[in-house]
Amino acid sequence: MKLLVPIKRVVDYNVKIRVKADGSGVELANVKMSMNPFDEISVEEALRLKEAGKAEDVVVVSIGPAKAEETLRTALAMGADRAVLVETEDQVEPLAVAKILKGVAEAEQPGLVIVGKQAIDDDSNQTGQMLSALLGWAQATFASKVEIGDGSANVTREVDGGLQTIEVKLPAVVTTDLRLNEPRYASLPNIMKAKKKPLDRKTPADFGVDTSPRLKVLKTEEPSGRKAGVKVKSVAELVDKLKTEAGVL
């Protein structure tokens, strides 16, 4: 079975982003970029399935600017076999991403697509579900455990009340949650080897997808901030303030 893992290049999760003063967006120049953390979990899961003999081939795909090649190389250094870069300088919305990924999936014929549940830049949480819909496949979102069976997979999902386990027919789309695994770091020799692994270049047009946005961004602004309050010296003072000043007890 082949596994397809879509990954996204995003602002590193440790970076405190700044909103541009003119309200036109978020400052992305000279900001550290990394692989979306949920996508690292997806890559890791694919590699573990391969190591367990459940899959033979791990293909990673990214849709983004030329520099997304670095992110794909990181995934190759972790152990993925092959990469596809769908190059575009546009901001591509999840629906268009899903349409491009559908094209990639039709070309690659994976048994399972493993995709992060959300990207930490736009926080949309849409792509996996949309891809699954467009392919007419089953979806198993927010996965904390994936067990591959014969023609099906049992997936345990993190839901609001706890955990839910479902069985999905393969091929399917799984979206990964935080507790699925702890991603490995790439070793230096593997980083060197990754430079020679195959990487195909495509464009959205190769898949006949129009990436024009459907959502018009009118403004991007700072959230209304919170100011630090006061330090209290004791539990007694805290309780007193909560009762008399804040009125919440």
């Binding site: 949480n125 959502l215 959230p223 919440v248």
Partner: protein
Amino acid sequence: MAILLLADHDNAHLSDQTAKALTAAGQIGSDVHVLVAGSGARAAAEQAAKLSGVTKVLLADDASLANNLAEPLAALIVSLAGSYDAIVSAATSVGKNVLPRVAALLDVAQVSEIVEVVSADTFKRPIYAGNAIQTVQSTDAKKVITVRTASFAAAGEGGSASVETVSAAANPGLSTHVQDALSSSDRPELTSAKIIISGGRALGSSEKFQEVILPVADKLGAAVGASRAAVDAGYAPNDWQVGQTGKVVAPQLYIACGISGAIQHLAGMKDSKVIVAINKDEEAPIFQVADYGLVADLFDALPELEKAL
């Protein structure tokens, strides 16, 4: 504008998440129909009919809809979508699972987790863990929207909408339910609690978490939350996680204990009315958003707090 609001429920009870999403739906348009999809869900449908601002309840009762599996639920919503200008759901694990599937089937770009309705086609939503707020205008004829319920008050009761039954769509049969392992607790739900007490990595173990946090929670009638670090370490179950990718809450009082205050955690609680931070490290970023900060060892402070309440 006719709006279809997907209800969150467990067949017997309607979640108050739906009452909050209803407030957002009512700001988008005035003709709001609530879809209760489940198995043996008439009780939930009747509760939905009582919510103020609901003009009709659609009840789809079928075994295939018992466990909120995405494919049959999406097929049902799509079968009804023709009559509606917008399809709305609370951004719960059910809504987040099924609505993007609906959006893709309708060829619509979803607007996720709105925190404000500017007009019928324009919404505010947080990006980058709430460190920026985007105002977006949807250019699709039909809108598909999830609502961050912490930003909207619950609609009240007083309605008397009719309950109409609708048929389930054909089940694509791609997935089956195996089992649920849901936490049962007498404490309030995180997303509707007035007071939340949360613990972080500083608790050190699941036993300590229970021993130190839970008695205070019980005294306050509070829900219990946790930071990602505490959940990853196994001190608390996943459904207690508050943050960018966990639950987003806005209680009257949020007490963060031994939580340093990573931006991903702040994203889930910084709209709380009053924030209290108890932490040994006076440099912890949590103090920058706390109304009341107590620099103390939580193993001393929390038992003392329990006695003082």
